[in-house]
Symmetry: none
Subunit: 207 residues, 4 copies
DNA sequence: TCCTAAGCGAGACGGTACGTCTTGTCTTCCA
DNA sequence: TGGAAGACAAGACGTACCGTCTCGCTTAGGA
């Protein structure tokens, strides 16, 4: 945790704040560094003292929030893996709902590829770690990575659809549904089979 | 189908070809209209006679390929819905493999948001139509849109992961796996329940 | 003499004109490329299509005028060397007077070093050629370069003084005076001595 | 003569020293305040505590040297006016030679206009005073200012030429030559004529 | 077969954003 | 109290790309 000048922290916060405000106002690609500086009441050159690009600022600004979210989830789920209860999903959908306007832009029709990519990856990573903690590495008939990616893909797709359609269902309902589709029916099947997989007689191909 | 000058068709083909080649050479965002024109041995102004932007060209160029893919799938699956056999998935993974370098860029770490968005949407759309043809509209305990989106999300996530890791498994294996995770275990559960859904006593919430 | 697009010539002319106007309005160093572009009703980027710097534009713009001046002098002096008549000087002083405001800035207190340098060099060069045409190379007791430089220095100093003090004497008087100081009394002395020079017994030192 | 803190004097000396060193290393215009501060191992802000600009520092730094030079000349020439002996010129050329690298930059191709201007003016001023001390004000057939300016221009032009060509002749030779060209032949002519001047019958025009 | 409209090359230009560079001011803290 | 350290405003710089335009050449397809 690097020590920073109070002014520096304040300046960066203002830049992040400014970017978030602008994202809600106009297409992301149409936002210039000058716009951000103006919105933050700072000089354009000052932006470059802190960030090399819009992207860097956005990521820096999003990271803190994600960290907080993960911490919250860790606290609430009490050690139970996510496939046993929809609570993790619920917290995520609620968090998304709170920042709906922002994420709708970032993940939607004019979303940014690298944001989508990193969000998807991030979810998959967390899922994979949870799977391995529960069963040990590759103890299931599907490679952990693939299973995690399957979970993440489903969650990502449902979240983005939900946002794009202005959250037509409750967070709770969405969480229950994704839980049903990903966990109920699938996990028992996998766990029951052990590390066997019917398609090729229990061996994982490597190419 | 508009009639076009032979020259015009040829010019557009050269532009599409040029863009595809450049995508394999350098980051998509770093490709300029001038680059495309140079690569296609055309004048920059000529580009604007045909397209308003890189994106338009890219979409125009991708559409033909997607159309051909859909046609092929329709032909091979013989009317059987995709959740009864992994053949649809296999064709898709094979198609992706053939254009691996291109899609790796478009869907990967430095991918383009609008491409990802449209691909995901496209898959979900096709899936939804197929579900409705098989069961009628919203005859299952999960809204068709959501189920379709779940399928699409999983497929998308696995495809992009597969590309990003240079296709460590065979197309067949990937298809079997996504089939197992999305269909086997899930579809019987849904079909068996009729249009009922345990979480809220069989009624769909609307907000 | 390179052939140029009519538009290009027009654009350059407008830039030159703009710079001249601005020089009369504000300190040369305070003139920005943007100022010039604005004054010429052109885009700043357009400036860079033609010149790399203010300096380049200024020189390009001055050269034409100097060429015209030299041509005029050649015509009027009828082959007689400048030390036999003050006509050359008169034409120069008259020309300077016509562009007094401009040259006052360029050669005066806030003048530009490289302009002064080139003007001084230019005069010396012309003088040297004239000396050599009249007497042959180094036929006088002073090296041609030095004599030419002496003439040029005197002329330059008197012109800049004259401008700085808002031309207190007539062009004719100034020309007569510089002729008297440089030619009358000095040239006969040099020519009479042949290639001998008292200070070191007639030999030129080389270091 | 203002009293100054020892530290302040030291700081200024270091700044002057730094600028002199840098002038020998890179084009004058390319030297930034930051460069000077770095070279002097001082903070940039400190520069502004003492000078408002590079120019001010340069002038402050040069002035001391010029003062010393004038003092030396006064001492050596023993009251004899410069047109009676080349000693003044010799001292100047020797002084220039000692600081050749510096003056070559300041007075040469990429020299600074305001330096040239002030040097030229300074010489002319000294010359004019000397003329007036010897003959009384405007006792010669040429205005004192003009005669002084003629001397100064010649000296300046020869010095700058000499530097630019890496001092191909000795200081002594240069001094003798400039003396010959400016004084011998010219001064007797002027003094002999009294305050009369052939071009306009002895009256000085005023415009 | 001509001729005429279209496609295209060439390149000037306006416009906009970029990232960098200096400059000058300020504040905070240290010796 | 002079100076170090460094954040910041201000604004010019030179570059890059975009989209539009004009001016010609050429070339194919209808007269």
């Amino acid at each position: 945790m690097e020590k920073m000048d109070r002014r520096v922290r304040r300046t960066r916060a203002m830049l992040g704040q400014a970017l978030r405000e602008l994202i809600l106002e106009k297409p992301y690609d149409a936002i210039t560094i000058q716009d951000i500086a103006d919105q933050a009441d700072l000089n354009r050159a000052t932006f470059y003292l802190h960030y090399a690009s819009k992207e860097e600022l956005l990521m820096d600004s999003l990271e803190a929030q994600f960290d907080a979210l993960v911490t919250q989830i860790e606290g609430e789920k009490n050690g139970r893996p996510m496939w046993e209860s929809p609570v993790t999903g619920r917290i995520i959908f609620e968090y998304v709902a709170e920042n709906a306007a922002l994420f709708k832009v970032l993940l939607g029709a004019q979303g940014q590829g690298y944001v989508m990519y990193r969000v998807l990856n991030y979810i998959a990573q967390v899922d994979e770690e949870e799977i391995q903690e529960a069963f040990g590495p590759n103890a299931l008939p599907v490679p952990d990575v693939i299973l995690a990616r399957h979970f993440a893909g489903s969650l990502f797709a449902l979240v983005s659809w939900w946002l794009e359609h202005d959250m037509p269902y409750s967070s709770t309902y969405m969480a229950e549904t994704v839980h049903q589709l990903c966990a109920v029916g699938v996990m028992p099947m996998l766990v029951g089979m052990g590390a066997a997989w019917p398609v090729n007689g229990g061996e994982w191909p490597t190419a």
